[in-house]
Amino acid sequence: MENLLHTVVLMLEGTQVTLEIFFITLLLALPIGLLASLARLSRFRPLSLLMEFYIWLMRGTPLMLQLLFVYFALPMIGVMLPDIAAALLAFTLNYAAYFAEIFRAGIQSIPKGQYEAAKTLGMTYPTTMRRIILPQVIRIVLPPVSNETINLVKDTSLIYILAMNDLLRVARTIVQREFDMTPFVVAAVFYLAMTFILTWLFKKLEAHYGKYET
């Protein structure tokens, strides 16, 4: 019993690292993804092509490889980052690319008539995006964003390769030391708890932003 308590305490510390990566990545990747989607939709061709390339690169290679690249390859060209910053850089760049594609699809699903109505009422492009288009996009992208967010909770476990003590790595260390599988079960419960909370939160958000639909 005491042993289990000790295990849980250790794993809570690991959870803290996991949550840190999760929240900071989300906080950075969402706005960057939005900007990237607008750039991707830009009529300025070079910008749009650059974004297409970035998205292709991020979605076309494993997140694990991107983590290793940031962690091991960047120092070789003189860029030294603290462990956590390296992990955050890779996670943010990767998730921003996925969010960008989600937002792009959302923006493109808004009927042309909404832009036309805004234009004939005298609204500028920034006003139209801020007041008319994006509030409707939020409602549309919530389910896929929810999906990605839940993926992110689980993807944080990849940082074990960077020798950071996240939830899963702590669990594995204890398992290897004590030949007891309980920590894996505890880890599963922790991940499930986090995704449960997220699922509930997104359900609330969908109801809030969807209140205009009958």
Binding site: K119, G122, M123, R131
Partner: protein
């Protein structure tokens, strides 16, 4: 300034309007003139260019050549558009009602009316609310102020769209087939609202398939086909004594 000019009553003038979509000429040199308080009805088969012509008035489409002046100011002069603040000021004189209503679905009826005056004109809510309430009463929807568009019938949505355009106090109202997306039993309420506007001497350009409405409410009717104006005139003579074969054939099919 405008008062001294002999044509100061001309609200909208389009001369020699030409427009092509990828090599296909849809407007082949159109001239129209709408005077203050007039209701110009534009009718014609689909593909005749009538909606495109209307959409050129407020730059939803751009013309290739020709001139557009609104209340004496050039929005486009020989194919070259005004830009920046000048264009915005001229376009501010027009209001538009769409076939598909295009209400903002995430806003209530009242918010739809308040949005542009507050965001574009920078008005305070309490400054614009009285006019918004008055306009909702006028279109008979005072009791729907807090509804979302999805909770309204098509006819009610279109009346909200009319009120939303009017909230910007336009001098000219443009209607692009305002009843074409409605069930037949709902067109009446929208046409009634439009008639009332006409009775208040709002200057209106209406692209429509509603022949009865054009006949009763219009000051002038234009019949377009294949990018040309085939025939125009006062509604009585236009509908009673059409001169062109093309017009006669069209009216036979419509009535």
């Amino acid at each position: 300034m405008g008062n001294t000019r002999p044509d100061s009553n001309v609200m909208l003038r389009m001369t020699d309007i030409r427009k092509s979509f990828s090599g296909n000429e849809v407007l082949k040199g159109i001239d129209i003139e709408v005077r203050k308080g007039e209701l110009l009805a534009i009718i014609g088969p689909s593909g005749s260019g009538k909606s495109t012509l209307l959409r050129c008035v407020n730059m939803l489409e751009t013309i290739d050549d020709g001139s557009i002046s609104i209340e004496g100011e050039f929005l486009a002069d020989k194919g070259v558009y005004a830009t920046g603040d000048k264009a915005r000021r001229i376009l501010g004189c027009t209001g538009m009602v769409f076939q598909q209503f295009n209400l903002f679905p995430h806003m209530t009826v009242m918010e739809n009316l308040l949005e542009a005056p507050m965001q574009v004109k920078g008005m305070k809510r309490k400054e614009i609310q009285p006019l918004a309430e008055e306009l909702l009463a006028k279109v008979g929807l005072s009791d729907r102020a807090d509804y979302y568009p999805s909770q309204l019938s098509g006819g009610q949505q279109q009346r909200v769209a009319i009120a939303r355009a009017l909230a910007m106090k336009p001098d000219i109202m443009l209607f692009d087939e305002p009843t074409s997306a409605l069930d037949p039993e709902l067109t009446g309420e929208v046409l009634k609202t439009m008639r009332e506007l006409a009775e208040e001497h709002m200057t209106m350009v209406v692209v429509t398939h509603e022949m009865a409405f054009a006949r009763e409410a219009a000051s002038k009717v234009i019949f377009m086909a294949d990018g040309n104006i085939v025939e125009q005139g006062k509604p009585e003579e236009f509908f009673e004594h059409p001169r062109e074969e093309r017009t006669k054939a069209f009216l036979r099919n419509m009535l």
